[in-house]
């Protein structure tokens, strides 16, 4: 009753109107603010996306700079790559990154991307990847002749008996991994992206691991010979021994051994760049004495007659490394009086192996053929103990997170 009386009083409508106007104005301003906030949020989202790509760009560039230092052999833990506010092509995107080494010896990259007021960070933990993650990796064909055994061991850990190794091809063509009768592969076997393991891998032999298809293409880093003194002649020997110590490292035009000629490596680490062919006659050898190592870069072919070979006497696979560096077609025929211990990186070379006993190490080739009855052991230490000083070692992202 009182309310009714009040509402009939003079000025009541005006009061109600003022209240209504205030309410409507507030509602309108709230709507306008909502629209503006939505727009601001959209702009921030867009800037956030740009900042995220900036951070990714920083991470990619950091990895590239790290690997450039590695390949140039200028890596130092005291001066690791870092960049501050690098602008991407005069846009409003920019990034900063820095590389650190944590207490566990792991290298980490922190990349900060910026776009306007948006900031995104990506943290990545790196790992060193060597050339030999696979026991045998080819671009085309692995031929395992009858009664071949492929298995593993770990030269750094004698107690390790649970071997995790793989062989495979990046090819997707049928029959690229034929297995002879009696052949045993104690490893996983993979085929190229989009390939069918059942058609690429032959039906013979026994595979104890999994067969699978690669999800991404594998890269084959190009290896460049180091800068060495140019000798300009071939290492030639007939019925004699040429002894080389580290002072003999250099660039030679070839190696030619005949009538039990020998090249003996002793006294430390020897690096040879052979611009021509390596020809080894009957009974000839390249011997690497214990405590020494031979790193061999070859532009030409390797041919060998009977009862010849590369004799790495200490049995450490890191003591004999062979790299194909030629630009034309190359062929490697590798024989051994006894076992072969070493690694071969020749992704564009056809490699034929005749180990009379066994081979230990790892192989990357275009086509790899093991002659009948071969035994091949992959050294897992080649994958698990990659050093900054290893030829072809490079940083890759092990895991990452963003915020």
């Amino acid at each position: 009753m009182n309310k009714r009386l009040k509402s009939q009083e003079t000025g009541a409508a005006l009061c109600l109107m003022v209240v209504a106007v205030i309410l409507l104005t507030l509602t309108g301003m709230a709507l306008l603010n909502l629209g503006l906030q939505t727009r601001i949020s959209a702009i921030q989202t867009a800037k956030g996306i740009q900042a995220r790509w900036s951070a990714d760009a920083g991470l990619i560039k950091a990895v590239v700079e790290m690997n450039k230092k590695l390949s140039a052999k200028t890596w130092s833990d005291t001066s690791m790559p870092a960049v501050t506010n690098e602008v991407l092509f005069q846009s409003e995107q920019s990034f900063s990154y820095q590389v650190d080494k944590d207490g566990g010896g792991n290298y980490t990259v922190t990349s900060t991307g910026m776009a306007g007021s948006a900031i995104k960070r990506v943290y990545a933990t790196m790992r060193l990847k060597g050339l030999f993650d696979s026991a045998i990796l080819v671009k085309d064909r692995i031929s395992l002749m009858p009664n071949t055994l492929v298995s593993g061991y770990n030269s750094q850990d004698a107690t390790d008996t649970d071997f995790d190794l793989k062989i495979g091809t990046t090819s997707t063509a049928a029959g690229r991994i034929p297995l002879g009768p009696g052949t045993v592969v104690e490893a996983d076997v993979f085929v190229g992206v989009g390939g069918n393991p059942n058609t690429v891998i032959g039906a013979g032999g026994t595979i104890t691991g999994q067969k699978y298809t690669l999800h991404e293409e594998l890269d084959f880093p190009v290896i460049t010979p180091p800068s060495l003194p140019y000798i300009g002649t071939a290492l030639s020997s007939t019925s004699a021994t040429i002894t080389l110590d580290p002072t003999g490292s250099g660039t030679y035009t070839g190696i030619s051994l005949s009538q039990t000629g020998i090249v003996e490596i002793k006294g430390g680490d020897v690096v040879l760049y052979i611009t021509g062919n390596i020809n080894m006659g009957n009974g000839c050898e390249v011997i690497v004495r214990p405590g020494s190592s031979l790193t061999l870069y070859v532009d030409g072919n390797i041919s060998a007659d009977n009862s010849v070979g590369f004799n790495n006497q200490a049995g450490n696979v890191r003591d004999f490394q062979l790299f194909a560096t030629g630009t034309s077609v190359q062929l490697f025929n590798m024989k051994a009086k006894s076992s072969i211990f070493g690694t071969i990186y020749a992704p564009d070379v056809d490699i034929t192996l005749y180990p009379s006993a066994e081979m230990r190490g790892a192989i990357v080739g275009k086509n790899v053929t093991f002659k009948s009855g071969s035994v091949f052991y992959y050294d897992e230490a080649l994958r698990d103990n990659v050093s900054i000083d290893d030829v072809g070692a490079r940083f890759i992202v092990k895991r990452w997170r963003e915020e």
Binding site: G11, T25, A42, S91
Partner: protein, 173 residues
């Protein structure tokens, strides 16, 4: 005495009725004023609502453009910036896409990969992809998405308000 009382009561009633008539007239003016002010306020509030909706619409377009750019950039970066990358092969099954003629401008020294139009909810987003090798190990990818905030009037093309969103990143070579 009684007559005086009756007379004064009538005067009071007359006075009261006269006052009531004057009060009703003022209320009518008030009501009219209120109506006018409320109308103006409601119309103004509608304007607020319109601009709010417009901002929301623009925001939606901005986010869509950013996501389209992200889609193209992510897809292209996924194949490491391959210069033979063709978005119509990778994305055409999920998006309404057509190839555009060469765009008029690119950043200096960038190589055009292609121009593509994606239509989402009636809005056309024109995407231009370009790349540049900044070093033997590093390639820069550039993705620009353009769209019109106002629909183009064929008779007055200058009236269109075009917005753009650009993403630049690196991929390893």
């Amino acid at each position: 005495m009684k007559t005086d009382v009756i007379s004064s009561k009538r005067e009071i009633r007359i006075l009261k009725s006269g006052r009531r008539k004057r009060a009703s007239g003022v209320n009518l003016i008030e009501v009219m004023a209120v109506t006018v002010i409320l109308t103006i306020t409601v119309v103004g509030t509608s304007g607020y609502r319109y601009y709010s909706s417009l901002n929301a619409h623009w925001a939606q377009e901005q986010i869509a453009a950013a996501r389209v750019g992200q889609l193209f950039c992510g897809n292209w970066a996924g194949v490491e910036g391959d210069e033979t990358y063709d978005p119509t092969e990778h994305l055409d099954s999920d998006l309404e896409m057509e190839t555009l003629a060469s765009p008029d401008s690119l950043p200096p020294a960038f190589v055009l990969l292609g121009g593509y139009r994606i239509t989402l909810e009636g809005v056309a987003y024109d995407c231009v992809l370009a790349w540049k090798d900044v070093s033997p190990e590093l390639r820069a990818l550039w993705v620009r998405v353009e769209w019109d905030l106002r629909e183009k009037d064929p008779s007055n093309p200058d009236n269109a308000l075009t917005k753009s969103f650009i993403i630049i990143t690196y991929v390893p070579r």
